[in-house]
Amino acid sequence: MTMDMVSAILVSGLVLGSVYALMASGLSLVWTTLGIFNFAHGSLMALGAYFAWTMSDAAGLNLWLGAGVAVAVAGMVGVGILIERTVIRPFYDDKDILLITVMTTLAVMIFLEKGIQLLWGARLKQLEPLAPGRVNLLGTTISAQETLIVVLAPLLLGGLWVFLRYSNIGRGIRAVGQNPAAAKLIGVDVSKLFILTFALSAALAGLTGILLGSVRFITPTFGAEPLVKALIIVIFGGLGSLSGTIAAAYIIGVVEAVLIFFVGIYWAPSMLFALLIAVLMLRPQGLFGKSVR
């Protein structure tokens, strides 16, 4: 194996891993805090990209994309709150909340996908890259936008980690995730935190969509593939741990890059699935998860 190949695999794995980490951390956040699995996360990602596309397209200037990103992310926060209010909040007391919210978030997914198609049409779209041009990274040439993702992802996730660790709201979110009843007892406003968590997760999804939307093409269903990957990652990392999720994202990114290089792109997704099943059979709590009991 030449150095060229090693660097190509590493760079490819880094790009994939960064995207997965952004995507999966939003999913994992909602799972840890609210105990639900949001199947609409992928469509939220698509929605964020379309918001940004509309912003930049309406303004017609790259210059405005920065503002567009802000507006789009703000829009996503609103959408997140709306979703939490309408399809998740009513079921908090339900014993079958896991299954019911699988269903309601699936419904949201269908609603968003079809709505996007109705509003923006089915034709492919692409965002102007935030960073144009190409960059040589470890001897492998990739687009500057992908480099931006590689650089931005750890910063964003680091920011998220600091926020969860040191801010009052962040500590509240973690407390609720660990023990909602106890959190309520010590005076945490659980209901407010649930909304905040969902809004934060939606914003993360939207941001991922915006970053990815200038590397890949935007379609109403372009969140589907990253969603499936994110699901795998959250499981791999072990449910309920953000750092585990992020670590798993990068591991899966590199594993996928290695698989693509050595097994070929054809069987790489299948092998990832098989790997997932195998890991779960050996360690039902995930790679970094602690035993439930």
């Binding site: 089915a122 492919l124 687009s143 093409f217 379609t219 070929g264 792109i265």
Partner: protein, 413 residues
Amino acid sequence: MNMRKMGKWGLALLAASALSVAFANAQEKVAKIGVLAPMTGGAAADGNEMVNGARLAVEEINAAGGIAGYTFEVVVGDTQDQAADTVTSAFERLAGDRDINVMMTGYASGSNFEIELMAEQEMPYIISANAAQTRDIIAPNPDDFPTVWSISPSYDAYETAMVPVIQQLLDGGALELPNKKVALISSDNPYSKTIMEGLQKNFEDAGWEVTSADLLPFGEINDWRAFLAGVRQAAPSVIINTDYLPGNAATFMTQFLEQPTKSLVFIQYAPSVPEFLELTKDRATGVVYNMLGGVLDTPQNPRAAEVVEKYKAKYGSAPGVYGPALYEQVYLYADALAKVGDSTDRLAIGKAIGETEKQIAAGVLRFDPQTHLAVQGEDAIPIQFFQIWDGKRELFYPARYATEEFQTPPWMK
């Protein structure tokens, strides 16, 4: 005006309108055209174009007073994601309408299984894609399918025309290649795979070395770098990608240009889709693709420019393949109806369609009675080779239709 007077007026008006309706009915019969199209789901863009093309022709014909006492009307059956049950539902819904005695589509399903449903009901059916599937179903017993016709010709030329065209470019000095190596890549769908396998055989027979022939899973592909890394090692002078999805093709081009090799790049079908040019912009300059049954837009075939212009004028954007295809399909039906005179005589209509010989946007259309496909060839539906240059598609082969000369792509200079 008092109430009584108004009542009287109303009554008179009602009578008049009833009369006029009756009169109109006596004079105008309605021939509804069932269009099977994916109006929802991932292929909705194609579906909308199909319906647009059909509506364009129908409005023209109706504005000109209809055909044989009939006015036309388009009824759309949504095939959604082309799953067998939704396609059958759409078919049954249309077939249940007694005024629908013809159906047409760009493509309705991946397998064309609906051809058999059409044949059972002797429904005239005109289709413009998936020629290989159509042939597989019809060729064993062409007499069982008297009403089903494909305006898309056999795809064999996709496999056989490539090597001679490259050879011709080399001989004419328009192209210089350092070696006789070719790298092939395809996604796992019957269309792309068949073409790649055919190309591999044809290249090998002509003494070329095929450095790789890779198969990718069908669907969205975001990473061509593994393939391109192999290409850089083998340095073939021709790279052929037969995956036909425009998004994939655009990604492919972008990633190829990150570290280009001095190779001629050929991409199947995708560059003909409007958004490919929008997405790749100047990055596509130099890319070669070919087309069977596409619009033959050349001064020798003014029909093509006419159809494209009409479409643009009405819908504000240039059509791909399916807009003009459905436009022509409606006219094929109109011609057959004019000949037969009775829309319910399905067998006669089907037979009349099969006897067509006319100039259409894609070339000269006549059908092969063995396969029910359009006949392929330079004097029929020709295979066309294009090169993209500055956001435009330049036709460079066959020479008699060519609008522009082939040029060496910028990355090869």
